[in-house]
Symmetry: C2
Subunit: 312 residues, 2 copies
């Protein structure tokens, strides 16, 4: 790649969202640099330039941001579930890491930084459902606090005219390339089913989430890059707008797989009972809407896991 060619940089390009985004960009003929510690599926990133590096190493990051036009920040070093055990690590790595990234994007003249935030953790339990972007924020885990703080810093740098950015508060994404451990209940459940192990349900199965197929999330990221209205909001919920209980998820998977054995586990204090996002703002300003049918997305996910995961 020539030094003067503008391109996209996907931080966390080896992860779930990153891998899907890099594949779409490459198919669209966009030059992409995928940056991360390691890629779960290196073959999936053919056509991208893969750069191995550490998000916390300013030199690694500075090198990869050279001539970047759009930068997508899809790195988190902790999961929501683990973040309350390690809040200081979470702040040191993900908040300070994001601040360093912001400063580098300013120095390198990046056109727009697109940051993936967390629709499932930033609002907390006491909000109206479906939840709008201006609802109050009472996160129950460090992960949500750090995401919120990153959002607030981005708003300050926009206010000062130093860096344009768009924040996407993504609900619960699912689909190909998701890691079954720690990333999402659908990936974990599909994997258990395929391994003929019982699916785990935390609590009574009524915990309700807004599941969104990964292709729709990638659509939203592309739309966030295209946004050319300077006065448009810079913070968007990205979800399906529809709540489903984990019992419904299991039920829908039964339609694909047949009978599923379930193991019930006690509920967790960091799980809000219901999380469903209002997506009207994104529909209005990004011209985006989720286009994947629930049962079809689930079938595609199940199909991908049966083909790729079991035979790795």
């Amino acid at each position: 790649m020539k030094n003067n060619t503008r391109h996209w940089v996907v931080l966390g390009g080896g992860g779930f969202v990153g891998t899907n985004l890099c594949r779409r960009l490459t198919r669209a003929g966009v030059q992409v640099v995928a940056f991360g510690r390691s890629s779960g599926f290196p073959d999936a990133l053919r056509g991208c330039r893969w750069v191995s590096g550490d998000f916390f190493n300013t030199d690694d990051l500075a090198a990869v941001l050279e001539n970047a036009e759009y930068v997508v920040h899809a790195i988190s070093t902790v999961t929501p579930a683990k973040s309350n055990e390690l809040p200081i690590k979470d702040v040191e790595e993900n908040l300070i890491g994001s601040l360093r990234l912001i400063h580098l994007c300013i120095a390198k003249g990046v056109k727009r930084l697109i940051v993936l935030s967390s629709g499932g953790t930033v609002y907390g339990p006491d909000v109206a459902v479906p939840t709008q972007e201006d609802a109050t924020n009472h996160p129950l885990c460090s992960y949500g606090v750090v995401k919120l703080a990153v959002e607030k810093y981005l708003a300050i740098y926009r206010h000062q005219g130093l860096l344009d950015s768009v924040v996407l508060r993504v609900a619960n994404p699912y689909g190909p390339y998701q890691q079954p451990k720690g990333q999402g209940v659908i990936a974990a459940t599909v994997q258990k089913i395929l391994l003929s192990q019982p699916a785990e349900i935390w609590g009574d199965g009524t915990v309700t989430r807004d599941y969104i197929y990964i292709d729709d999330v990638v659509d939203a990221i592309m739309a966030a890059a295209r946004l050319d209205d300077d006065s448009a909001p810079r913070l968007y919920n990205i979800g399906s707008g529809i709540g489903r209980t984990i019992n419904e998820v299991i039920d829908s998977l039964c339609k694909i797989h047949g009978p599923i054995e379930v193991l019930r586990q006690p509920g967790r204090t960091l799980d809000v009972p219901v999380s469903v996002l209002s997506i009207h703002r994104a529909q209005q300003f990004l011209g985006w809407t989720p286009r994947t049918d629930w049962q079809e997305g689930l079938s595609a996910t199940y199909g991908w896991f049966s083909e790729h995961w079991l035979n790795r």
Copy 2:
């Protein structure tokens, strides 16, 4: 002091709020440990136990928290005005420092942690005035982002039943022992007047703030310690509930001092135009209300600066 005696610990005991609080507690016969890097007015802390230490040194902090019943956190290593130049330092010192403090309070069995937050910076420019506690948060400076993040972490630890805490979002306090540099426009202005230098006004003098006399802030901290309703909110605005422009402040000071020369400076982007707090929640749940008349508080401040500051 015996090791098994419960007492108050005031972190930042040598600062503006801390010094006033320690004096009040000592007068009330409470055993107080005042902790900080240094005290601006060591004579003012007679009757307290003064401990010199570094907030970021976990050993220093752990030693001082032994047997503490109430801990007041009134330390910040950056000012709002300077925080946007040093956001990483702000996070490292004030957010991670506060997390370490929370963990130590849990380990030491502290009864309640009372944290001073910032009514002037956490809300931002787009809120209804007077501003209620549940308004949206769009801080314009790192100082406000960090204060918000600390509040969110405190809420998580309360939610988990690990540590009780009360957050006071203090407006613009003024009064004796305030530092004229970087802490408050009233202290800075009174000092300039007494030094026969022109008072500085940023912008056109219409920037509006909610000034509250320090004795009323100390009252609120005492009330926050007494709060015994488990279901009461744990986050309170502490202000006068009344907005005054800087032009009004100068006008009120003229009534005390006589004519005042003014030097106009350009406005700053981190100044919200209007910041006035709604104090109904604190009045309802803390049984607290500001009791100091504006002109009397200003006269007392002017009197204190003429007596103490000029003759140091």
